[in-house]
Symmetry: C2
Subunit: 239 residues, 2 copies
């Protein structure tokens, strides 16, 4: 059984890994969500971070432990798990294409985060609110339609129901999570942009309806979106 | 022969791919650096970008074409090329570890870029200079020592001359490029931070002395750092 180590109070980048595991019905040890007296909590995460725990450590969570393999970086963890969980095709070109798409999703996640922390991750939102309002405007007006348009066009060209064509793969789960997060953080801007990308919306709905995922999303294992995570709902950033 | 397609006037993210090819002595078609009348220039890049060219396209360059395989996203392109060029070990755990490290380098590249464009990539530096000065301060004082410290510790724990141990792999080339870029952009801050990370400095020097790379770095194929790239030298951001 693999172990996932991620901040226990947010979805964050760990959620992109959790979705693979949940969709496949895999058992996994969500270490930091155990009670503190059973080795969970923030201390479990810090123990694997740079400079604080036994090596090989990563700069930041999510961390995956699978026997002797310890890995960090969300797209690398997904690329490692996907063949084991059956959520990527066997051939190398498709695997690389899946990695490319997950990296593109990760880039958009970063940009969505930076709308509320444009100056520094070390400062509170309230201390960079004026800059965040400017950053969010450019994100809403320029980046959001451009990014979603890329995925719309990718789906159109793939010629099937999924990003890689006829079969689902892990970037489909990633795009679902991106849409869900954008709808939470910037509901007005997200709906406006998604109005122009019906294939992206249909993919989101198709993924959300997968039985194992639907059960997960309705469970207490799915941490609600909140204002400590990547996708934060600050109404002043939604135009 | 593979084709690399990247903006012809900057090192940018394409340089991380070029270093793999150059170090291995591979022949490659650096498409956009051909004269425009021979299919080069910006038009060559735009032809592969989202919405503008034939699929499967990527959101942004670098793009790699290898026969039927078309790929985007720098870390994915490196992960694809590395086994073919002999710059990553054969076993899967080492390949995933290399990908993790390259992704961590890519994250630091993003942060270095965002110091001069904290609010929006769509606006000029001059229009976000006050915010950039604030962002650069936090980058210099907090992020730079933390990131370089991570690589120092990784080298220490690897127990050899390279990030994966005794054998060089492509993240070593990436870390070389990161150090070179930081020294160009923020010479004072970089020297101060690198003073605490002697293993990172030694790795940079070891990579720079590799014969094929030394020849490349001295050639006209190496585009000089400049203020259109990721690493820009704006003295006001260097403290």
């Amino acid at each position: 059984m693999v172990a996932l180590i991620y901040w226990p109070f947010i979805q964050g980048r760990g959620e992109f890994v959790r979705l693979l595991l949940e969709d496949a019905g895999a058992e996994y040890d969500d270490v930091a969500r155990r009670p503190e007296e059973e080795g969970g909590g923030i201390a479990a995460v810090r123990g694997h971070m740079y400079g604080e725990g036994p090596g090989p450590a990563g700069f930041a969570p999510p961390f995956l432990i699978d026997g002797d393999v310890k890995l960090a970086q969300m797209p690398a963890v997904c690329a490692y798990l996907a063949p084991r969980l059956g959520c990527v095709p066997d051939d190398e070109a498709a695997r690389m294409r899946a990695l490319q798409l997950q990296l593109t999703i990760a880039d958009m996640v970063d940009e969505a985060h930076d709308t509320h922390h444009p100056v520094s991750t070390a400062r509170y939102f309230e201390d960079q609110k004026a800059e965040a309002i400017e950053a969010a405007r450019d994100f809403r007006e320029q980046r959001l339609p451009k990014w979603l348009g890329f995925f719309e066009r990718t789906l159109e060209r793939a010629g099937g129901d999924y990003l890689l064509g006829s079969e689902p793969s892990y970037p489909d789960l990633g795009l679902f999570q991106l849409v869900a997060g954008l709808r939470y953080a910037l509901p007005r801007a997200a709906e406006a942009a998604l109005g122009a990308t019906p294939r992206v919306v249909a993919l989101h709905d198709r993924v959300a309806a997968r039985p194992a995922l639907a059960a997960y999303l309705a469970s207490e294992r799915r941490i609600p979106f909140n204002e400590d995570g990547i996708f934060r709902h600050y109404p002043e950033l939604d135009g």
